[in-house]
């Protein structure tokens, strides 16, 4: 360390994460954004999202220096317009061709549907790439290398493998995709390394989630059959009680899945953190199943009962949850990174259309 507490370039530093996120402070922001969203026919959402990120980032620090989010609402808005053209024009063309030319044009929906999976994958990658390029620390940008198309096709391929194996490929898919996102990330010119830790067993907790999920699903369907039969016999009009019953069963099913899969999701988070390296530094995310259940359920309740109004609060709580459990050992040359090139000009349009953006 230098005399001002600032490290000189050659020295390695241990990474200490801190956060001062107060999720209650996001209540006012949520209210403001919700109202502005309605008044502007939701067009304000791009600027709202940007402000939430800027706030959260500024309350997360590494070795005393806060992160900074430098994205702009305008960039998200332009990305949205771009996605509108890319997605809307082919979709509209096929719809019109089906209605006015020949119904056989509906066969085009098959390649469009497959293409959609690739696009969703690409959208996820582009979102991470945009966010990385708009995240700075000590004035230096992050950077995600790699290709959205490659990620998109992998997303489709792994997805097919997962469905062929009745879901059992899912843990491998998750880790392979995580490698493409985290293993291609750099801080400035310092690349993070991905070296699969294999310290956390994924298939044990996955088996529990899978079995409970499948059994729960069968039970869910079985529970619905008598209700649906009774309804079919006395006419086509679904009664309020019936809809209520279906929702109640669905809620129970979701609860069961959340409970049964929490151990798996916690294991995935721990394993991803374990697999990341920056210089000699290693990371650890101490997430347990129980606390993840509490977080997920409370977040669900907040979103459902406020019709999405308090989404910023949910994001803040989640960030707080993760950062407060993130630690690191070993040293990295944090003062030696060189600036990364400027990232993409627009961001996340596709992700907005598919609603897959993580933050």
């Amino acid at each position: 360390m230098g005399e001002d507490g600032a490290p000189s370039p050659a020295q390695g530093e241990t990474l200490t994460f801190g956060q001062t996120i107060d999720s209650k402070a996001f209540l006012g922001l949520s209210l403001k954004h919700g109202l502005l969203n309605i008044v502007t026919l939701t067009l304000y959402r791009f600027w709202a999202k940007t402000e939430v990120r800027r706030r959260i980032w500024s309350h997360i620090s590494l070795n005393g220096e806060p992160f900074e989010y430098t994205g702009k609402g305008k960039e998200l808005f332009l990305g949205f317009l771009f996605a509108l053209v890319v997605l809307g024009v082919p979709y509209l063309a096929v719809i019109l061709a089906v209605q006015f030319v020949n119904p056989l044009f509906s066969l085009l929906f098959i390649p469009l549907y497959i293409g959609l999976f690739v696009l969703i994958g690409a959208a996820i990658f582009m979102t991470y790439r945009y966010i990385a390029s708009r995240t700075t620390w000590r004035g230096i940008r992050f950077q995600l290398k790699g290709s959205p198309a490659e990620y998109g096709w992998s997303y489709l391929g792994y997805g097919l493998l997962t469905s062929i194996t009745l879901g059992w490929y899912a843990p491998a898919m998750t880790m392979n995709l995580a490698e493409k996102l985290w293993g291609n990330l750099s801080f400035g010119d310092q690349k993070l390394r991905w070296q699969r830790a294999n310290e956390v067993g994924l298939y044990g907790p996955f088996a529990i989630a899978w079995i409970v999920g499948v059994v729960g699903y069968i039970a869910f369907i079985a529970a619905l059959v008598p209700t649906a039969m009774a309804n079919a016999n006395n006419g086509a009009e679904p009664s309020v009680t019936m809809i209520g019953t279906i929702y109640a069963y669905a809620l129970v099913f979701v609860l069961v899945v959340v409970l049964a899969s929490a151990a798996y999701h916690a294991a995935v988070m721990r394993e991803i953190a374990r697999s990341l390296h920056l210089g000699e530094a290693r990371f650890s995310l101490k997430v347990g199943a129980g606390e993840l259940i509490v977080l997920t359920l409370t977040n669900m309740l907040i979103v459902i009962f406020t019709l999405g109004f308090l989404t910023p609060v949910v994001l803040a709580r989640t960030a707080r949850f993760l950062i407060s459990r993130l630690t690191s050992t070993g040293e990295a040359q944090l003062a030696a990174a060189l600036q990364a090139p400027q990232g993409p000009k627009t961001g996340e349009g596709l992700a907005d259309a598919f609603d897959v953006s993580p933050f």
């Binding site: 089906v98 620390w137 230096i140 109004f309």
Partner: protein, 356 residues
């Protein structure tokens, strides 16, 4: 005063001395090369500087388009540079105002402009195009709605009744009425003149006048090209709204979509009312009693009293405000001749009944 500079080139923190010289912020690194030249520094006009909170008692200074960041103590910075820089509040207000105008413009377009333009657009659409649209739709509908293959004579009576009622209409299309199998009470006017009547509706109709009333109503839809209007509206309003709002579930999006649903309801309600009025005219022109419309809607509206009519839910989804329409039809009811002879009515009733 002292500060910590991140020069935007490397992640190395530079301890700097900070001063204000002639309206400019100047920072020079403490570390210097052998000739005494600072290794890092910055020189920004004070007016371009943005302040953001850094941490307790500290500020982060930056300027647009520059990667460098300067961290300073709040108190020392205030003493040096004076009061807070003007914030971006005015810009934000401008943005909100602009977006609100855009939102209101879009809302006016979606909720007022498109419904108003739907009728002229439908009239302007060439009948040939609408016919092709209808033919495609009919082809797609044969799967969910199997054609009735009962009494062929009944099918003829049904089609003829449709043609009779249409003689005094200005329909640009030949009216082709068919019976189809479906588990609910309803009738549809497709683009291009095809009218589908479900077997359940034929069962529920208690007199030829009731069926004639339903057909006259649907013929009015065809004549006024309501299917085309709905298509234009769906394209203009629905797609624009969906596209603008996006796939999201966030704050406000559900509210806006819900409002779009109400606007849909109102639009189809207006079309239904128009078709009722015109349908009564068509019946009167053929001298058929219009009591059938009042009776049929009345029974539909009070369906809860009649367990056999539970299947009418579909009717209500596509024909809002049936109760109000029943009373209006009752007010307009005029006596007339029966729409069909008893023999024709009997054979029509068996159009969906399996033969033998």
């Amino acid at each position: 005063m002292d500060g910590l500079l991140f020069d935007g080139l490397t992640s190395r923190p530079w301890p700097v001395t900070v001063g204000v010289e002639g309206g400019r912020l100047v920072a020079r690194s403490v570390e210097a090369d052998p000739d005494g030249v600072p290794l890092a520094g910055l020189d920004w006009p004070l007016t371009a500087i943005r302040e953001t909170p850094h941490s307790d008692q500290r500020l982060k200074l930056s300027r647009e388009g520059d990667d460098a960041r300067l961290v300073v103590e709040v108190a020392a910075w205030r003493a040096l540079a004076g009061e807070t820089r003007p914030s971006d509040r005015r810009r934000e207000l401008g943005l909100v105002a602009g977006l609100t105008v855009a939102g209101l413009g879009l809302a006016a377009f979606v909720f007022v402009g498109v419904p108003m333009a739907a009728a002229p657009l439908a009239r302007w659409t060439s009948p040939a195009l609408e016919a092709r649209f209808g033919a495609n739709m009919e082809a797609q509908l044969t799967t969910p709605f199997r054609p009735c293959k009962g009494d062929p004579q009944g099918a003829q009576v049904l089609a003829q009744l449709g043609r009779d009622l249409a003689t005094s209409s200005d329909s640009p299309f030949e009216i082709r009425v068919r019976a189809v199998r479906a588990p609910f009470v309803n009738a549809f006017a497709l683009p291009g003149g095809a009218i589908l009547v479900t077997d359940d509706l034929i069962t529920q109709a208690q007199s030829p006048d009731e069926l004639a009333a339903v057909l006259a109503h649907e013929i009015a839809h065809v004549e006024r090209r309501h299917a085309m209007q709905a298509a234009w509206r769906a394209m203009g309003a629905g797609m624009v709204l969906d596209a603008v709002v996006g796939g999201g579930t966030g704050a406000g999006q559900q509210a806006v979509l819900l409002f779009g649903g109400f606007a849909d309801q109102r639009f189809s309600r207006d079309l239904e009312a128009e078709a009722d009025v015109r349908g009564i005219e068509l019946l009167a022109a053929r001298d058929i009693s219009t009591q059938g419309m009042a009776d049929f809607f009345g029974r539909m509206a009070n369906r809860k009293d009649d367990p056999r009519l539970r299947k009418a839910a579909e009717w209500f989804a596509t024909h809002p405000d049936t109760g109000g329409r029943a009373s209006r039809a009752q007010a307009a009811a005029r006596p007339g001749r029966p729409a069909l002879t008893d023999a024709d009515w009997r054979s029509l009733k068996s159009v969906c009944r399996r033969q033998g």
